[in-house]
């Protein structure tokens, strides 16, 4: 499965990944319309960790053994057939069990709804814009090899 990995040594702390995440989850999918006109501009679903001079983006790793799904009391978090960890907002009750469980701290709280926000790998767009638009290739969308399991 393809996942987003980070190359912190080339991250410039420009936050463009956040900008394009917002655009990707906006109604119009247009940067100008999204930022200027959309009443409820989406929030970025990734986190840019920074402590100068260091910085790197962090998003859901779509774990093989997702603690967030195991902790979810409502069934709102689930794995799709391709292994992506997705969130059905209509089932979320904002209990934050996933926030407690996610080892990467990659699940965010949406201050507008109180529910959670997480990376969906831009399922509908095919390729994640945070990766595509990163000007210095600090994010990559790659087939991540997971060691063959012993049986």
């Amino acid at each position: 499965m393809r996942r987003i990995v980070v190359k912190p040594e080339v991250c410039m702390n420009c936050h463009l990944c956040e900008v394009w995440c917002v655009v990707a989850h906006s109604k119009s999918k247009d940067i100008i319309k999204a930022f200027l006109y959309e009443e409820r501009k989406p929030l970025p679903r990734l986190i840019v960790e920074e402590s100068r001079p260091e910085s790197f983006a962090l998003q859901c790793k779509h774990c093989d053994e997702p603690d967030c799904i195991f902790a979810c009391i409502s069934g709102a978090l689930y794995k799709d057939e391709e292994g992506r960890v997705l969130h059905d907002e209509s089932k979320c009750v904002a209990c934050y069990s996933c926030i407690m469980a996610c080892p990467y701290g990659a699940i965010k709280i949406n201050p507008l709804t109180g529910k959670i926000l997480k990376c969906d790998l831009c399922v509908d767009l095919g390729f994640p814009p945070c990766v595509e638009k990163c000007p210095n290739n600090a994010l990559e969308y790659v087939e991540v090899e997971i060691g063959a399991e012993e049986s």
């Binding site: 009391i73 409502s74 089932k91 080892p103 990467y104």
Partner: protein, 450 residues
């Protein structure tokens, strides 16, 4: 009937087990037996349902076609009353028997009802474990003006909040000298008590109900100190005890709960247990104990499922963990609940009284043994991860108190080790971080040959 795998219990543990079995084995026969007639629903959602935050159709934990998709025979509304270990059969209340190759006991808990004089099945008395209770309470709420909740634990307080939001006069009666005493420290209890007081919920501490008055319905309760309180509703939320009934008169070892090893197997080979009915290994506590928590039930069931299929897995990272919220106050606690005046542990804490934000850590030998976040719980899972991995935090311990604590606050070496791994229930997989293939970047990057 005989099945390769039989599961007793239809909640987090049972579902976790089914999902694990079907990941590895699509062919074997699987049956689930549950005393309640409902499709797999989430008990943890009952307060949200009562509150009207979700409709009844959202209380179901898995889609309606779950059993068909998983190819599982579901015996719902059928109570398992015993196990014949020698013939490997589950005995049903209706006289039937269901044979098994491997068995999981995930029967959950049952409400503990303290001895109270005069309690005799009055119709305005409720516990909070079954969906039928919830549906009953929802009806009873509509006409009620006052309610008494016995028990200031998570469930009792959640129900008190819901009732209060429906403009009911609510009184919580708690035996300890503070609410939530088993799961959080005194500072956090104070924050919670303040929150309830501000919202007009009365909390009576160090007291309990000794007697109820009323035949058809409870009309008033009499407390230990002699005071009398009239009420329209009585909610009993004192606690939950492991429901181990099915293991009675069997060689399966039962202590407080059904005792299991790290493979979730009981003292009888091929019979597993998980969830609120079991006693599992708590890695912080360093011994087995009952951990009646949703995530540990699910993962316990999952680990059991793998082992039942012959894939050896250990559940090595279970410990106490709670995500809870009362009105707008969110709290996450995990590990050991250590008082602030402990001699045995190093305590780090910070309380912002105005914003009601609290962070507290109990360290032992440089490792996190327990923590509490209140008011702001963002990224709490990183702390659980540090605890599970046994990371020595001495070098950066002061940073743990930062509200926006993140991976960037960890020394680089630890940071990338934690961020790079793929932990599969104790089995660590390694993968390459290295160069991306051509397919991945679709030729947009420089330096790739055609």
């Amino acid at each position: 009937m005989r099945y390769d795998y039989v599961i007793i219990g239809n909640s987090a543990g049972g579902i976790g087990c089914i999902e694990a079995i079907r990941e590895l084995d699509e062919a074997s026969s699987v049956a689930i037996i549950a005393a309640e007639k409902y499709h797999a629903y989430s008990r943890a959602l009952i307060p949200y349902y009562l509150d009207g935050k979700i409709e009844l159709d959202k209380i179901y934990y898995r889609p309606p076609d779950f059993y068909e998709k998983m190819d599982v025979d579901a015996y719902l509304g059928v109570k398992a009353v015993g196990i014949d270990v020698s013939s490997r059969e589950v005995l049903l209340e209706n006289g039937g028997r269901i044979g098994f190759g491997k068995l999981l006991i995930a029967t959950g808990g049952r409400p503990f009802i303290p001895p109270i004089e005069g309690l005799s099945g009055q119709k305005n008395v409720f516990t909070f474990l079954k969906l039928d209770d919830a549906i009953g309470v929802k009806e009873a709420i509509s006409g009620a003006g006052s309610a008494i909740v016995l028990g200031g634990g998570i469930i009792g307080l959640m129900v008190a909040e819901v009732l209060r939001r429906k403009s009911i006069e609510v009184t919580v009666v708690e035996l300890a000298d503070r609410v939530l005493a088993p799961v959080v420290d005194a500072t956090t209890s104070n924050l919670v008590q303040e929150k309830f007081a501000e919202n007009g919920v009365k909390i009576i501490l160090q007291n309990t109900i000794t007697k109820v008055v009323g035949e058809e319905e409870v009309e008033k309760v009499i407390l230990k100190d002699g005071s009398e309180l009239p009420t329209d509703l009585l909610i009993l939320a004192v606690g939950v005890r492991p429901n181990t009934e099915v293991a009675k008169n069997t060689p399966i070892k039962v202590n407080r709960g059904i005792v299991v090893n790290k493979h979730m197997e009981t003292s009888v080979e091929g019979i597993y247990a998980c969830g609120d009915c079991a006693e599992i290994y708590d890695f912080v506590f360093g011994a087995n104990r009952v951990l009646p928590l949703w995530p540990t039930a699910y993962v316990g069931g999952r680990v059991a499922g793998f082992n039942m299929c012959g894939r050896r897995r250990e559940y090595t990272y279970a410990t106490s963990m709670n995500a809870m919220h009362f009105f707008d106050l969110y709290i996450v606690s995990a590990g050991l609940n250590v008082p602030n005046d402990s001699d045995e542990f190093e305590i780090l804490c910070t309380l912002d009284e105005r914003r009601r934000i609290y962070r507290k850590f109990a360290l032992k030998d440089g490792q996190i043994a327990g923590f509490i976040l209140a008011g702001r719980v963002d990224r709490a899972g990183i702390l659980l991860k540090l605890m599970r991995e046994g990371v020595n935090v001495s070098e950066f311990k002061d940073r743990l108190l930062k509200e926006d604590f993140g991976y960037v606050d960890l020394p680089e070496e630890i940071r990338w080790e934690l961020l790079g791994d793929k932990v599969k229930l104790g089995v660590v997989y390694e993968y390459e971080h290295g160069g991306h293939g051509r397919a991945a970047c679709e030729g947009r990057c420089e330096g790739h040959e055609a």
